[in-house]
Protein backbone atom coordinates (compact mmCIF):
# COMPACT_ATOMS: atom_id res chain seq x y z
CA UNK A 1 0.00 0.00 0.00
CA UNK A 2 1.28 3.46 -0.81
CA UNK A 3 1.77 5.51 2.35
CA UNK A 4 2.55 8.63 0.33
CA UNK A 5 1.19 9.56 -3.08
CA UNK A 6 2.58 12.56 -4.90
CA UNK A 7 0.32 13.51 -7.76
CA UNK A 8 1.39 16.02 -10.41
CA UNK A 9 3.00 18.34 -7.88
CA UNK A 10 4.32 21.63 -9.24
CA UNK A 11 5.83 24.53 -7.34
CA UNK A 12 6.47 27.89 -8.96
CA UNK A 13 8.48 30.74 -7.50
CA UNK A 14 7.45 33.58 -9.79
CA UNK A 15 8.25 32.26 -13.25
CA UNK A 16 10.65 29.59 -11.99
CA UNK A 17 9.33 26.06 -11.81
CA UNK A 18 11.20 24.49 -8.87
CA UNK A 19 9.07 21.38 -9.27
CA UNK A 20 6.95 20.63 -12.28
CA UNK A 21 4.49 17.81 -12.57
CA UNK A 22 6.28 15.40 -10.22
CA UNK A 23 4.40 12.18 -9.46
CA UNK A 24 5.43 9.05 -7.59
CA UNK A 25 4.22 6.75 -4.84
CA UNK A 26 6.09 5.60 -1.77
CA UNK A 27 5.20 2.15 -0.49
CA UNK A 28 4.86 1.39 3.20
CA UNK A 29 8.13 0.29 4.84
CA UNK A 30 10.45 1.06 1.96
CA UNK A 31 13.37 3.44 1.65
CA UNK A 32 12.89 5.76 -1.30
CA UNK A 33 16.01 7.52 -2.52
CA UNK A 34 15.57 10.99 -3.96
CA UNK A 35 18.53 12.15 -6.02
CA UNK A 36 19.37 14.78 -8.57
CA UNK A 37 21.97 17.45 -9.31
CA UNK A 38 22.09 20.64 -7.23
CA UNK A 39 19.02 22.78 -7.83
CA UNK A 40 16.96 19.84 -9.07
CA UNK A 41 14.16 20.68 -6.61
CA UNK A 42 14.65 17.94 -4.02
CA UNK A 43 14.39 20.14 -0.95
CA UNK A 44 11.53 22.13 -2.50
CA UNK A 45 9.66 18.87 -2.93
CA UNK A 46 10.28 18.06 0.75
CA UNK A 47 8.95 21.48 1.69
CA UNK A 48 5.83 20.92 -0.43
CA UNK A 49 5.23 17.50 1.13
CA UNK A 50 5.69 18.65 4.74
CA UNK A 51 3.58 21.79 4.55
CA UNK A 52 6.23 24.51 4.42
CA UNK A 53 4.87 25.63 1.07
CA UNK A 54 1.58 24.65 -0.44
CA UNK A 55 2.19 23.07 -3.86
CA UNK A 56 1.18 25.41 -6.70
CA UNK A 57 -0.50 22.51 -8.46
CA UNK A 58 -1.15 18.87 -7.79
CA UNK A 59 -1.69 17.13 -4.50
CA UNK A 60 0.07 15.17 -1.79
CA UNK A 61 -1.77 12.27 -0.16
CA UNK A 62 -0.47 10.78 3.09
CA UNK A 63 -2.23 7.58 4.16
CA UNK A 64 -4.91 8.56 1.67
CA UNK A 65 -5.44 11.97 3.27
CA UNK A 66 -4.92 15.15 1.29
CA UNK A 67 -2.10 17.17 2.86
CA UNK A 68 -2.22 20.35 0.76
CA UNK A 69 -2.55 23.43 2.92
CA UNK A 70 -1.86 21.67 6.21
CA UNK A 71 0.63 23.42 8.46
CA UNK A 72 3.92 21.64 9.29
CA UNK A 73 2.87 20.99 12.90
CA UNK A 74 -0.31 19.22 11.71
CA UNK A 75 1.74 17.21 9.23
CA UNK A 76 4.11 16.16 12.03
CA UNK A 77 1.20 15.17 14.28
CA UNK A 78 -0.24 13.03 11.46
CA UNK A 79 2.99 11.05 11.42
CA UNK A 80 5.20 12.60 8.77
CA UNK A 81 8.42 14.23 9.98
CA UNK A 82 11.45 15.74 8.31
CA UNK A 83 15.02 16.70 9.06
CA UNK A 84 16.74 19.78 7.69
CA UNK A 85 19.58 19.87 5.20
CA UNK A 86 21.15 22.63 7.26
CA UNK A 87 20.77 21.26 10.78
CA UNK A 88 18.65 23.30 13.14
CA UNK A 89 19.58 22.42 16.73
CA UNK A 90 17.80 24.35 19.49
CA UNK A 91 21.21 25.73 20.38
CA UNK A 92 20.68 26.97 23.93
CA UNK A 93 18.89 23.82 25.08
CA UNK A 94 20.67 20.65 26.13
CA UNK A 95 20.88 17.70 23.76
CA UNK A 96 18.30 15.89 25.91
CA UNK A 97 15.89 18.83 25.88
CA UNK A 98 16.10 19.04 22.09
CA UNK A 99 14.79 15.50 21.88
CA UNK A 100 12.25 16.13 24.65
CA UNK A 101 10.73 18.86 22.45
CA UNK A 102 10.26 16.26 19.72
CA UNK A 103 8.82 13.71 22.13
CA UNK A 104 6.29 16.23 23.46
CA UNK A 105 4.60 15.96 20.08
CA UNK A 106 2.94 12.77 21.35
CA UNK A 107 2.56 13.43 25.08
CA UNK A 108 1.82 16.25 27.48
CA UNK A 109 3.94 14.77 30.25
CA UNK A 110 7.49 16.05 30.43
CA UNK A 111 8.48 12.96 32.41
CA UNK A 112 7.23 10.56 29.74
CA UNK A 113 8.91 12.69 27.09
CA UNK A 114 12.24 12.57 28.93
CA UNK A 115 12.17 8.78 29.07
CA UNK A 116 11.36 8.61 25.38
CA UNK A 117 14.11 11.13 24.63
CA UNK A 118 16.75 9.06 26.44
CA UNK A 119 15.58 6.04 24.47
CA UNK A 120 15.96 7.85 21.14
CA UNK A 121 19.36 9.23 22.11
CA UNK A 122 20.49 5.68 22.83
CA UNK A 123 19.24 4.62 19.38
CA UNK A 124 21.48 7.19 17.67
CA UNK A 125 24.33 6.67 20.16
CA UNK A 126 24.23 10.15 21.68
CA UNK A 127 22.91 9.46 25.18
CA UNK A 128 26.31 10.13 26.78
CA UNK A 129 26.06 13.72 25.47
CA UNK A 130 22.56 14.36 26.78
CA UNK A 131 23.64 17.06 29.26
CA UNK A 132 25.65 19.04 26.68
CA UNK A 133 24.42 22.19 24.97
CA UNK A 134 23.12 21.30 21.50
CA UNK A 135 24.82 24.36 19.99
CA UNK A 136 28.26 23.05 20.95
CA UNK A 137 28.08 19.67 19.21
CA UNK A 138 30.30 18.90 16.20
CA UNK A 139 28.51 18.44 12.88
CA UNK A 140 28.40 14.62 12.97
CA UNK A 141 26.65 14.63 16.31
CA UNK A 142 24.33 17.45 15.29
CA UNK A 143 23.11 15.31 12.42
CA UNK A 144 22.49 12.42 14.82
CA UNK A 145 20.68 14.76 17.19
CA UNK A 146 18.49 15.90 14.31
CA UNK A 147 17.55 12.27 13.62
CA UNK A 148 16.95 11.46 17.31
CA UNK A 149 14.73 14.52 17.69
CA UNK A 150 12.63 13.70 14.66
CA UNK A 151 12.34 10.03 15.66
CA UNK A 152 11.01 11.16 19.03
CA UNK A 153 7.94 12.53 17.24
CA UNK A 154 7.12 8.88 16.37
CA UNK A 155 6.79 9.31 12.61
CA UNK A 156 5.44 6.69 10.21
CA UNK A 157 7.13 8.44 7.32
CA UNK A 158 10.51 10.07 7.77
CA UNK A 159 12.01 12.50 5.27
CA UNK A 160 15.78 12.80 5.65
CA UNK A 161 17.35 15.73 3.84
CA UNK A 162 21.06 15.02 3.36
CA UNK A 163 21.76 13.62 6.80
CA UNK A 164 25.19 12.51 5.60
CA UNK A 165 26.21 15.86 4.11
CA UNK A 166 29.53 17.03 5.53
CA UNK A 167 30.27 13.80 7.41
CA UNK A 168 33.44 11.72 7.22
CA UNK A 169 33.19 8.11 5.92
CA UNK A 170 33.06 6.59 9.41
CA UNK A 171 30.25 8.90 10.47
CA UNK A 172 28.38 8.28 7.21
CA UNK A 173 28.61 4.56 7.81
CA UNK A 174 27.02 5.03 11.24
CA UNK A 175 24.17 7.00 9.71
CA UNK A 176 23.66 4.32 7.03
CA UNK A 177 23.37 1.69 9.75
CA UNK A 178 21.00 3.97 11.62
CA UNK A 179 18.75 4.39 8.58
CA UNK A 180 18.70 0.62 8.04
CA UNK A 181 17.83 0.12 11.73
CA UNK A 182 14.99 2.61 11.44
CA UNK A 183 13.72 0.69 8.41
CA UNK A 184 13.57 -2.46 10.54
CA UNK A 185 11.18 -0.73 12.92
CA UNK A 186 8.74 -0.33 10.03
CA UNK A 187 9.19 3.40 9.44
CA UNK A 188 9.01 4.40 5.79
CA UNK A 189 11.78 6.77 4.69
CA UNK A 190 12.51 9.14 1.86
CA UNK A 191 16.21 9.95 1.72
CA UNK A 192 17.83 12.81 -0.15
CA UNK A 193 21.53 12.13 -0.51
CA UNK A 194 24.39 13.03 -2.81
CA UNK A 195 26.59 10.08 -1.89
CA UNK A 196 25.74 7.62 -4.67
CA UNK A 197 27.25 4.59 -2.98
CA UNK A 198 25.17 5.22 0.13
CA UNK A 199 21.97 5.82 -1.80
CA UNK A 200 22.48 2.61 -3.84
CA UNK A 201 22.94 0.60 -0.66
CA UNK A 202 20.00 2.12 1.13
CA UNK A 203 17.27 2.58 -1.43
CA UNK A 204 14.61 0.10 -2.45
CA UNK A 205 13.55 2.53 -5.14
CA UNK A 206 15.00 5.75 -6.45
CA UNK A 207 13.44 8.83 -7.99
CA UNK A 208 15.72 11.12 -9.97
CA UNK A 209 14.85 14.79 -10.26
CA UNK A 210 16.43 17.14 -12.77
CA UNK A 211 15.51 20.81 -13.25
CA UNK A 212 12.39 20.26 -11.19
CA UNK A 213 11.08 17.38 -13.26
CA UNK A 214 11.07 13.68 -12.60
CA UNK A 215 13.71 12.21 -14.87
CA UNK A 216 13.54 8.56 -13.89
CA UNK A 217 12.20 6.15 -11.31
CA UNK A 218 13.15 2.58 -10.57
CA UNK A 219 15.31 0.18 -8.58
CA UNK A 220 18.95 1.12 -7.94
CA UNK A 221 20.25 -1.04 -10.80
CA UNK A 222 17.81 0.43 -13.30
CA UNK A 223 18.80 3.92 -12.29
CA UNK A 224 22.58 3.48 -12.63
CA UNK A 225 22.19 2.03 -16.09
CA UNK A 226 19.68 4.64 -17.26
CA UNK A 227 21.41 6.73 -19.99
CA UNK A 228 19.33 9.83 -19.21
CA UNK A 229 20.42 9.77 -15.57
CA UNK A 230 24.04 9.39 -16.56
CA UNK A 231 23.68 12.33 -18.92
CA UNK A 232 22.10 14.51 -16.24
CA UNK A 233 24.90 13.76 -13.83
CA UNK A 234 27.94 13.61 -16.09
CA UNK A 235 26.96 15.45 -19.26
CA UNK A 236 26.27 14.07 -22.73
CA UNK A 237 29.94 13.80 -23.81
CA UNK A 238 30.47 10.98 -21.38
Amino acid sequence: MAILEIKHVSKFFGGLAANSDVSFDVEQGMIMGLIGPNGAGKTTLFNCITGYYPPSRGEVLFKGQRMNGLEPDRVCKLGMARTWQKVRPLAKLSVLDNVVVGALCRTNSVKVARDLAHEQLKVVGLDHKSAFLAGGLPIGERKKLEVARVLATKPELLLLDEVMGGLNPAESEEIIQLILDIKKTGVTQIVIEHDMKAIMRLSDRIVVLNSGEKLAEGGPQEIVSNPEVIEAYLGSEH
Binding site: P72, D73, V101, V110, A131, F132, G136
Partner: protein
Protein backbone atom coordinates in the same frame (compact mmCIF):
# COMPACT_ATOMS: atom_id res chain seq x y z
CA UNK B 1 33.35 21.40 25.63
CA UNK B 2 31.87 20.55 28.97
CA UNK B 3 28.42 19.29 29.82
CA UNK B 4 26.13 22.04 31.09
CA UNK B 5 24.89 19.47 33.55
CA UNK B 6 21.37 20.73 33.40
CA UNK B 7 18.17 20.08 31.68
CA UNK B 8 15.17 22.37 31.85
CA UNK B 9 13.64 19.94 34.26
CA UNK B 10 16.25 18.68 36.59
CA UNK B 11 15.58 15.72 38.80
CA UNK B 12 18.46 16.38 41.15
CA UNK B 13 16.21 18.13 43.64
CA UNK B 14 17.06 21.20 45.68
CA UNK B 15 19.78 21.10 48.31
CA UNK B 16 18.68 21.59 51.96
CA UNK B 17 20.88 24.69 52.20
CA UNK B 18 18.95 26.35 49.38
CA UNK B 19 15.62 25.45 50.97
CA UNK B 20 16.64 26.85 54.36
CA UNK B 21 18.03 30.02 52.79
CA UNK B 22 14.84 30.43 50.75
CA UNK B 23 12.60 30.02 53.79
CA UNK B 24 14.74 32.46 55.79
CA UNK B 25 14.47 35.02 53.00
CA UNK B 26 10.72 34.51 52.82
CA UNK B 27 10.39 34.96 56.59
CA UNK B 28 12.50 38.12 56.43
CA UNK B 29 10.31 39.50 53.66
CA UNK B 30 7.15 38.68 55.63
CA UNK B 31 8.48 40.33 58.80
CA UNK B 32 10.01 43.32 57.03
CA UNK B 33 7.05 45.75 57.54
CA UNK B 34 6.92 44.83 61.25
CA UNK B 35 10.61 45.57 61.73
CA UNK B 36 11.15 48.51 59.39
CA UNK B 37 8.66 51.31 59.86
CA UNK B 38 10.18 53.78 57.39
CA UNK B 39 7.60 54.48 54.65
CA UNK B 40 10.43 55.18 52.20
CA UNK B 41 11.95 51.73 52.76
CA UNK B 42 8.53 50.16 52.24
CA UNK B 43 8.08 52.25 49.10
CA UNK B 44 11.37 50.95 47.68
CA UNK B 45 10.36 47.37 48.47
CA UNK B 46 7.00 47.88 46.76
CA UNK B 47 8.78 49.24 43.67
CA UNK B 48 11.04 46.19 43.74
CA UNK B 49 8.02 43.90 43.79
CA UNK B 50 6.36 45.87 41.00
CA UNK B 51 9.48 45.65 38.82
CA UNK B 52 9.80 41.94 39.54
CA UNK B 53 6.19 41.34 38.49
CA UNK B 54 6.65 43.33 35.27
CA UNK B 55 9.98 41.67 34.50
CA UNK B 56 8.78 38.13 35.13
CA UNK B 57 5.69 38.74 32.98
CA UNK B 58 7.68 40.06 30.06
CA UNK B 59 10.17 37.22 30.50
CA UNK B 60 7.51 34.62 29.67
CA UNK B 61 6.95 36.14 26.24
CA UNK B 62 10.32 37.75 25.55
CA UNK B 63 12.75 35.61 27.50
CA UNK B 64 11.26 32.17 27.06
CA UNK B 65 9.37 32.47 23.78
CA UNK B 66 11.77 34.92 22.13
CA UNK B 67 9.07 37.38 21.06
CA UNK B 68 10.62 40.72 22.00
CA UNK B 69 7.60 42.86 22.69
CA UNK B 70 8.46 46.51 23.25
CA UNK B 71 4.81 47.34 23.76
CA UNK B 72 4.07 45.85 27.14
CA UNK B 73 2.89 49.24 28.40
CA UNK B 74 -0.31 48.43 26.47
CA UNK B 75 -1.15 45.60 28.89
CA UNK B 76 0.05 47.56 31.91
CA UNK B 77 -2.17 50.45 30.82
CA UNK B 78 -5.21 48.25 30.24
CA UNK B 79 -4.92 46.93 33.79
CA UNK B 80 -4.34 50.37 35.28
CA UNK B 81 -7.10 52.13 33.34
CA UNK B 82 -9.72 49.42 33.79
CA UNK B 83 -9.26 49.43 37.54
CA UNK B 84 -9.19 53.22 37.85
CA UNK B 85 -12.07 53.94 35.46
CA UNK B 86 -14.27 51.39 37.20
CA UNK B 87 -13.34 52.80 40.60
CA UNK B 88 -13.78 56.48 39.77
CA UNK B 89 -16.66 56.43 37.27
CA UNK B 90 -18.61 53.39 38.41
CA UNK B 91 -17.69 53.03 42.08
CA UNK B 92 -16.42 49.49 41.55
CA UNK B 93 -13.98 48.54 44.31
CA UNK B 94 -10.48 47.91 42.93
CA UNK B 95 -10.31 44.30 44.10
CA UNK B 96 -13.12 43.59 41.66
CA UNK B 97 -11.89 46.04 39.05
CA UNK B 98 -8.54 44.24 38.90
CA UNK B 99 -10.25 41.10 37.61
CA UNK B 100 -12.19 43.10 35.04
CA UNK B 101 -8.80 44.40 33.92
CA UNK B 102 -7.46 40.86 33.65
CA UNK B 103 -10.47 39.77 31.59
CA UNK B 104 -10.14 42.76 29.28
CA UNK B 105 -6.42 42.30 28.83
CA UNK B 106 -6.93 38.72 27.64
CA UNK B 107 -9.20 40.05 24.90
CA UNK B 108 -6.71 42.80 24.04
CA UNK B 109 -3.80 40.33 24.04
CA UNK B 110 -5.55 37.95 21.67
CA UNK B 111 -6.38 40.83 19.34
CA UNK B 112 -2.83 42.20 19.43
CA UNK B 113 -1.35 38.70 19.11
CA UNK B 114 -3.40 37.87 16.05
CA UNK B 115 -2.02 41.00 14.37
CA UNK B 116 1.60 41.02 15.57
CA UNK B 117 2.42 37.30 15.50
CA UNK B 118 2.09 37.32 11.71
CA UNK B 119 5.43 39.12 11.85
CA UNK B 120 8.81 37.85 12.92
CA UNK B 121 11.92 39.33 14.50
CA UNK B 122 12.37 43.10 14.21
CA UNK B 123 9.02 43.46 12.42
CA UNK B 124 7.28 41.99 15.45
CA UNK B 125 9.12 44.45 17.70
CA UNK B 126 8.01 47.40 15.56
CA UNK B 127 4.41 46.17 15.44
CA UNK B 128 4.33 45.77 19.22
CA UNK B 129 5.53 49.36 19.64
CA UNK B 130 2.96 50.62 17.14
CA UNK B 131 0.07 48.86 18.87
CA UNK B 132 1.07 50.27 22.26
CA UNK B 133 1.29 53.75 20.76
CA UNK B 134 -2.22 53.34 19.35
CA UNK B 135 -3.39 52.50 22.86
CA UNK B 136 -1.63 55.54 24.31
CA UNK B 137 -3.13 57.89 21.71
CA UNK B 138 -6.55 56.35 22.26
CA UNK B 139 -6.29 56.97 26.00
CA UNK B 140 -5.24 60.56 25.23
CA UNK B 141 -8.24 61.18 23.03
CA UNK B 142 -11.08 59.14 24.52
CA UNK B 143 -11.59 61.91 27.06
CA UNK B 144 -15.03 60.78 28.23
CA UNK B 145 -13.65 57.46 29.32
CA UNK B 146 -10.07 58.16 30.35
CA UNK B 147 -10.08 61.88 31.12
CA UNK B 148 -7.44 62.30 28.39
CA UNK B 149 -4.06 63.78 29.19
CA UNK B 150 -5.25 64.99 32.60
CA UNK B 151 -5.31 61.44 33.81
CA UNK B 152 -7.33 59.92 36.61
CA UNK B 153 -6.76 60.71 40.25
CA UNK B 154 -8.13 58.43 42.92
CA UNK B 155 -9.00 60.56 45.92
CA UNK B 156 -9.47 57.63 48.24
CA UNK B 157 -9.45 53.89 47.99
CA UNK B 158 -12.41 52.16 49.59
CA UNK B 159 -11.49 49.87 52.48
CA UNK B 160 -11.41 46.17 51.74
CA UNK B 161 -14.19 44.55 53.73
CA UNK B 162 -15.12 40.92 53.93
CA UNK B 163 -18.51 40.08 55.43
CA UNK B 164 -18.73 43.43 57.18
CA UNK B 165 -15.31 43.33 58.83
CA UNK B 166 -12.65 45.66 57.50
CA UNK B 167 -9.67 43.62 56.33
CA UNK B 168 -7.58 46.65 55.46
CA UNK B 169 -8.18 50.34 54.84
CA UNK B 170 -5.16 50.92 52.54
CA UNK B 171 -4.14 53.96 54.57
CA UNK B 172 -0.57 52.77 55.13
CA UNK B 173 1.85 51.18 52.71
CA UNK B 174 1.79 47.86 54.57
CA UNK B 175 -1.15 46.26 52.72
CA UNK B 176 0.45 47.26 49.41
CA UNK B 177 3.70 45.68 50.57
CA UNK B 178 2.00 42.33 51.17
CA UNK B 179 -0.06 42.46 47.98
CA UNK B 180 3.07 43.28 45.99
CA UNK B 181 5.03 40.52 47.68
CA UNK B 182 2.26 37.99 47.01
CA UNK B 183 2.02 38.97 43.33
CA UNK B 184 5.80 38.87 42.91
CA UNK B 185 5.96 35.38 44.43
CA UNK B 186 3.02 34.32 42.29
CA UNK B 187 4.73 35.42 39.06
CA UNK B 188 7.92 33.61 40.05
CA UNK B 189 5.97 30.43 40.83
CA UNK B 190 4.08 30.67 37.53
CA UNK B 191 7.37 31.13 35.66
CA UNK B 192 8.78 28.08 37.41
CA UNK B 193 5.69 26.04 36.52
CA UNK B 194 5.88 27.18 32.90
CA UNK B 195 9.56 26.32 32.64
CA UNK B 196 8.99 22.82 33.97
CA UNK B 197 6.01 21.99 31.79
CA UNK B 198 5.38 21.27 28.14
CA UNK B 199 4.66 24.98 27.69
CA UNK B 200 8.22 25.88 28.66
CA UNK B 201 9.69 23.44 26.16
CA UNK B 202 7.45 24.65 23.36
CA UNK B 203 8.14 28.33 24.18
CA UNK B 204 11.91 27.81 24.16
CA UNK B 205 11.83 25.71 21.02
CA UNK B 206 10.04 28.61 19.30
CA UNK B 207 12.67 31.02 20.64
CA UNK B 208 15.57 28.91 19.43
CA UNK B 209 14.27 28.06 15.96
CA UNK B 210 10.74 28.76 14.87
CA UNK B 211 10.82 26.57 11.74
CA UNK B 212 12.40 23.64 13.55
CA UNK B 213 9.78 23.95 16.30
CA UNK B 214 7.04 24.02 13.69
CA UNK B 215 8.35 20.84 12.06
CA UNK B 216 8.38 19.09 15.45
CA UNK B 217 4.65 19.50 15.80
CA UNK B 218 4.49 22.77 17.72
CA UNK B 219 1.52 24.95 16.79
CA UNK B 220 3.31 28.30 16.54
CA UNK B 221 0.47 30.78 16.84
CA UNK B 222 -1.23 28.78 19.60
CA UNK B 223 1.85 28.71 21.83
CA UNK B 224 2.85 32.30 21.06
CA UNK B 225 -0.63 33.45 22.03
CA UNK B 226 -0.60 31.39 25.22
CA UNK B 227 2.73 33.00 26.14
CA UNK B 228 1.34 36.43 25.37
CA UNK B 229 -1.83 35.86 27.41
CA UNK B 230 0.10 34.70 30.50
CA UNK B 231 2.48 37.61 30.08
CA UNK B 232 -0.31 40.16 29.55
CA UNK B 233 -2.33 38.98 32.55
CA UNK B 234 0.52 39.56 34.99
CA UNK B 235 1.51 42.83 33.34
CA UNK B 236 -2.09 44.01 33.74
CA UNK B 237 -2.06 42.95 37.39
CA UNK B 238 1.10 45.01 37.81
CA UNK B 239 -0.67 47.94 36.13
CA UNK B 240 -3.70 47.70 38.41
CA UNK B 241 -1.46 47.40 41.43
CA UNK B 242 0.52 50.46 40.37
CA UNK B 243 -2.65 52.48 39.75
CA UNK B 244 -4.13 51.73 43.15
CA UNK B 245 -0.82 52.23 44.92
CA UNK B 246 0.10 55.55 43.32
CA UNK B 247 -3.50 56.71 43.00
CA UNK B 248 -2.89 58.60 39.78
CA UNK B 249 -2.49 57.48 36.18
CA UNK B 250 -2.20 59.27 32.86
CA UNK B 251 -1.28 58.05 29.37
CA UNK B 252 2.31 59.27 29.59
CA UNK B 253 3.06 57.20 32.68
CA UNK B 254 1.15 53.95 32.24
CA UNK B 255 0.99 53.68 28.44
CA UNK B 256 4.30 55.22 27.40
CA UNK B 257 7.07 53.72 25.32
CA UNK B 258 9.42 54.53 28.23
CA UNK B 259 7.55 52.08 30.38
CA UNK B 260 7.69 49.36 27.70
CA UNK B 261 11.44 49.84 27.40
CA UNK B 262 11.87 49.82 31.17
CA UNK B 263 10.04 46.48 31.40
CA UNK B 264 12.38 44.98 28.79
CA UNK B 265 15.43 46.41 30.57
CA UNK B 266 14.58 44.66 33.83
CA UNK B 267 15.01 41.37 31.99
CA UNK B 268 17.99 42.33 29.83
CA UNK B 269 19.94 43.61 32.83
CA UNK B 270 19.05 40.68 35.06
CA UNK B 271 19.23 37.87 32.53
CA UNK B 272 16.72 36.93 29.86
CA UNK B 273 14.92 33.59 29.95
CA UNK B 274 15.80 32.71 33.53
CA UNK B 275 13.57 32.54 36.58
CA UNK B 276 15.70 34.84 38.75
CA UNK B 277 16.90 37.22 36.05
CA UNK B 278 14.03 39.71 36.44
CA UNK B 279 14.46 39.69 40.23
CA UNK B 280 18.13 40.58 39.83
CA UNK B 281 17.21 43.19 37.22
CA UNK B 282 14.76 44.78 39.66
CA UNK B 283 17.36 44.70 42.42
CA UNK B 284 19.79 46.58 40.17
CA UNK B 285 17.45 49.04 38.46
CA UNK B 286 15.13 50.15 41.28
CA UNK B 287 17.85 51.28 43.71
CA UNK B 288 19.79 52.82 40.83
CA UNK B 289 16.89 54.86 39.54
CA UNK B 290 15.97 55.92 43.09
CA UNK B 291 19.56 56.97 43.75
CA UNK B 292 19.59 59.01 40.57
CA UNK B 293 16.20 60.56 41.21
CA UNK B 294 17.12 61.65 44.74
CA UNK B 295 20.56 62.69 43.52
CA UNK B 296 22.21 60.36 45.99
CA UNK B 297 25.28 60.06 43.79
CA UNK B 298 26.02 63.80 43.88
CA UNK B 299 25.53 63.87 47.62
CA UNK B 300 27.94 60.99 48.02
CA UNK B 301 30.52 62.59 45.74
CA UNK B 302 30.33 65.81 47.72
CA UNK B 303 30.43 64.05 51.07
CA UNK B 304 33.42 61.98 50.08
CA UNK B 305 35.25 65.17 49.14
CA UNK B 306 35.82 64.10 45.53
CA UNK B 307 33.78 67.02 44.28
CA UNK B 308 33.30 70.30 46.08
CA UNK B 309 29.67 71.34 46.49
CA UNK B 310 30.56 74.93 45.56
CA UNK B 311 32.64 74.11 42.47
CA UNK B 312 31.19 74.40 38.98
CA UNK B 313 31.08 70.61 38.63
CA UNK B 314 29.34 70.21 41.98
CA UNK B 315 26.69 72.76 41.10
CA UNK B 316 26.24 71.24 37.67
CA UNK B 317 25.78 67.75 39.13
CA UNK B 318 23.38 69.01 41.79
CA UNK B 319 21.23 70.66 39.17
CA UNK B 320 21.36 68.17 36.37
CA UNK B 321 22.27 64.66 37.48
CA UNK B 322 18.78 63.84 38.68
CA UNK B 323 17.51 64.68 35.20
CA UNK B 324 20.11 62.44 33.63
CA UNK B 325 18.17 59.42 34.80
CA UNK B 326 17.48 58.17 31.27
CA UNK B 327 21.01 58.88 30.10
CA UNK B 328 22.58 56.84 32.88
CA UNK B 329 20.05 54.09 32.30
CA UNK B 330 21.14 54.06 28.67
CA UNK B 331 24.83 53.93 29.49
CA UNK B 332 24.21 51.08 31.90
CA UNK B 333 22.33 49.09 29.29
CA UNK B 334 25.15 49.56 26.80
CA UNK B 335 27.65 48.36 29.39
CA UNK B 336 25.58 45.32 30.26
CA UNK B 337 24.98 44.39 26.63
CA UNK B 338 28.67 44.79 25.80
CA UNK B 339 30.16 43.01 28.78
CA UNK B 340 27.37 40.82 30.13
CA UNK B 341 25.30 39.65 27.16
CA UNK B 342 23.52 37.12 29.39
CA UNK B 343 22.71 39.73 32.01
CA UNK B 344 24.02 40.03 35.56
CA UNK B 345 22.82 36.52 36.38
CA UNK B 346 24.56 34.94 33.37
CA UNK B 347 27.71 36.91 34.14
CA UNK B 348 27.71 35.75 37.77
CA UNK B 349 27.19 32.14 36.68
CA UNK B 350 30.14 32.41 34.30
CA UNK B 351 32.36 33.82 37.05
CA UNK B 352 31.31 31.02 39.39
CA UNK B 353 32.02 28.38 36.76
CA UNK B 354 35.45 29.89 36.16
CA UNK B 355 36.27 29.80 39.87
CA UNK B 356 35.05 26.23 40.20
CA UNK B 357 37.28 25.17 37.34
CA UNK B 358 40.27 26.83 38.94
CA UNK B 359 39.70 25.12 42.28
CA UNK B 360 38.91 21.77 40.65
Amino acid sequence: MRPIGTSLTNNRGTSPVTIVAGLALLAALLLFPQLVKSPYALHIMILLFLSTIMGESWNILGGYTGQYSVGHAAYFGVGAYTTMVLMQNHQVAPWYGVWAGVALVVVVAVAIGSICFRLRGPYFVLASIAVAEVMRLSAMNLKDLTNGAEGILAVEIPAFTLGGTVITDFLSKVPFYYIGLALAILTIVVTWLVQHSKLGYCFQAIREDQDAAHSLGIHLSLYKNVALIISAIFTALAGSFYAIYVGFIDPTTVLALDLSVQIVLICIIGGIGTIWGPVIGALVLVPLSEALRSNLITQMLIKSGLVSGESAIGIFLKEHLSHAHALIYGILVVIVILFMPDGVLGFAKKLLAKRNRRTA
